[in-house]
């Protein structure tokens, strides 16, 4: 498989970050960084990463199924992750979640038909003092009001 030069540079660094013979440690970060580039964990990627870290594809599959951020199916271009855990629950996170589902007509881990936006109800994302919070891909949005959520979803829809 071919990747961008930036990703190849990251891989090269990861493969030398661990003690000799411990390249397997690079597996999960490699899968995550590659997923960001190609959209999901494909069978081809599993085999490629297995080869590069020196394990069998089955060993990669065994590990990747454990981690909630690794996805076998593509997500939306914008993956909107809304926290409903305790601090967000107390400040309106659940209402945000329901509002987003209603507005987009999709549910947990689903994407809009055009593949533009996907939704996920997530556990605490480390923004509890600035709740309710959500992430769009890796970007944080703090103290989100229902109106801001509407605007955000509209802006994500428009940028085709």
């Amino acid at each position: 498989m071919t990747f961008s030069p930036e990703l190849e540079a990251k891989f090269a660094r990861l493969l030398t970050s661990y003690p000799p013979g411990r390249q397997r440690s690079a597996m999960v970060p490699m899968l995550l960084y590659a997923q960001d580039e190609i959209g999901s964990i494909t069978q081809e990627l599993v085999e490629e990463v297995a080869r590069r870290v020196g394990v069998t594809p089955m060993q990669v599959e065994e590990v990747l199924s454990y981690y909630s951020m690794l996805h076998r199916k593509p997500l939306g271009k914008y993956h909107v992750q809304i926290c409903t855990n305790i601090s967000c629950l107390l400040t309106g996170g659940e209402q945000l979640w329901q509002r987003a589902c209603g507005k987009l007509g999709i549910g947990h881990k689903e994407a809009t038909a055009d593949g533009q936006i996907s939704l996920e109800e997530v556990e605490c994302i480390g923004a509890c003092s600035w709740a309710p919070a959500l992430q769009v891909n890796y970007d944080f949005h703090h103290k989100v009001t229902p109106e801001q959520l509407d605007q955000l979803l509209d802006s994500l829809r428009k940028t085709h």
Binding site: L90, G126, C128
Partner: protein, 435 residues
């Protein structure tokens, strides 16, 4: 960046660079006493470094509050194996958002803490295990690491000494359990994050099966100030058995939620009313979680006269935990709170230990039934029994972390469970929807 204004009641030790222009840059760090503590430590014997940390009464900031100096002294320094420094930056305990600020605003302080820990146990490499969602922090840390290599604070023969040290970031990929120290170490080896049986503890068999110091981000960040100003000065900021300050995340129903650095032993009522600006909407306090959702819940009455320190919390049969304070007002449905907390643990249980995997799922199902108004009287006791059967029966404390809050809520708010029996709708639901 800072996401809330500071409070005049803070004691700024670990956060003293927050708000400076370019606070994350190495030049800012060097201009504000940065890496001085490391230079001092280069001249010290390892035992003297550990002694200084012991004198500071620094206790682990990740949740369990274990004395850091003592943990460091367990590492067999003369073992022929390499030793490692591992930073727990998985920050996933619900209610907790403080390590994020430390890494974002002052990453060099963390690197300096790792270096000093390295000197103390003769380790030459360190890994920062960062939760996958914190991608922007990995970028900030990688930049800081590159700067430190440039300035001779990472790499070979640091500052002309014969001490060498390399630092790396490692991204997680979504798993609360990977914050548990032994599961983190498995994950760092490229495996599923399931816990290891202990003993042996990580100090003896840790990263890559070698002796390892594993601490929370905030714990390492306290080390440079301790070495720079002396352990005694740090100890004096806190209470007798717990030195220094704690980054405290005020969350929930307060007027001024935010992360604040408060001396250990700070009174809970002043924290809520003066630092936090009181309960939102002039409401009354109903319940209080001192340090993340794994801690047993306290009632408003139990908070009277209480202070934020490890031993005071232990006396109330709860924990200071990670510093994630959750404040709940009088309109909060405690059945709903118990349910949401249990949904989290049932989702995050790694499935390795049956009492945890099955217990969290059964309790979640019963609480769901309750909250839907289909609770049965027998279920109230069943909840408590199920939770008690999880205690102490698992490899790692996730099972206890799920059981203890449930037991506390059922015991302390039993009448709220009774109000959900026999098809009665949740008496608080209206408030929650309009909140």
């Amino acid at each position: 960046m800072l996401y809330n204004p500071p409070s005049p009641l803070e004691t700024k030790v670990l956060t003293r660079r927050f708000g400076l222009p370019n606070s994350a840059a190495v030049d800012t760090y060097l201009a504000t006493d940065g890496y001085k503590a490391f230079k001092k430590a280069l001249e010290m014997k390892p035992d003297a470094i550990i002694e200084e940390v012991k004198v500071s009464n620094l206790r682990g900031r990740g949740g369990a509050g274990f004395p850091a100096g003592m943990k460091w002294s367990f590492v067999p320094r003369n073992s022929p194996k390499p030793k490692y420094i591992v930073v727990n930056a998985d920050e996933s305990e619900p209610g907790t958002c403080k390590d994020r600020l430390l890494m974002e605003n002052d990453p060099h302080q963390l690197i300096e803490g790792m270096l000093i820990a390295g000197l103390a146990v003769d380790a030459h490499a360190g890994y920062i295990y960062v939760r996958g969602e914190y991608r922007y922090l990995i970028e900030i840390l990688d930049k800081a690491i590159a700067e430190a290599y440039d300035k001779g604070y990472l790499g070979k023969n640091l500052q002309g000494s014969n001490f060498s040290f390399d630092a790396y970031t490692h991204s997680g990929a979504g798993a609360y359990e990977c914050g548990e120290e032994s599961a983190l170490l498995e994950s760092l080896e490229g495996k599923r994050g399931i816990p290891r049986i202990r003993p042996p503890f990580p100090a003896v068999v840790g990263a890559f099966q070698c002796p390892t110091i594993l601490n929370n981000v905030e714990t390492y960040c306290a080390v440079p100030p301790i070495l720079r100003d002396g352990g005694a000065a740090f100890a004096a900021l806190g209470v007798p058995k717990a030195g220094g300050t704690k980054l405290t995340c005020l969350t929930g129903h307060v007027n001024k939620p935010g992360v604040y650095e408060l001396p250990l032993g700070f009174p809970v009522d002043r924290m809520i009313n003066e630092v936090g600006g009181g309960i939102r909407g002039g409401k009354k306090l109903k319940a209080f979680i001192p340090g993340g959702s794994s801690c047993p819940v306290l009632t408003a009455a139990e908070c009277e006269g209480l202070t934020m320190d490890y031993d005071a919390m232990a006396k109330k049969k709860t924990m200071l935990g990670s510093g994630g304070v959750v404040i709940m007002d009088e309109d909060t449905c405690m059945v709903k709170v118990a349910l949401r907390i249990m949904r989290f643990y049932a989702h995050e249980s790694c499935g390795w230990c049956i009492p945890c995997r099955e217990g969290t799922t059964w309790i979640r199902k019963i609480l769901t039934r309750f909250h839907d108004g289909m609770g049965r009287k027998d279920d109230i006791n069943l909840l408590g029994d199920l939770a008690k059967n999880m205690l102490g029966r698992t490899f790692c404390p996730l099972g206890d972390a799920a059981a203890l809050p449930t037991i506390s809520i059922v015991e302390k708010f039993r009448e709220e469970f009774e109000a959900h029996l026999d098809g009665k709708p949740c008496p608080y639901e209206k408030e929650l929807v309009t909140a």
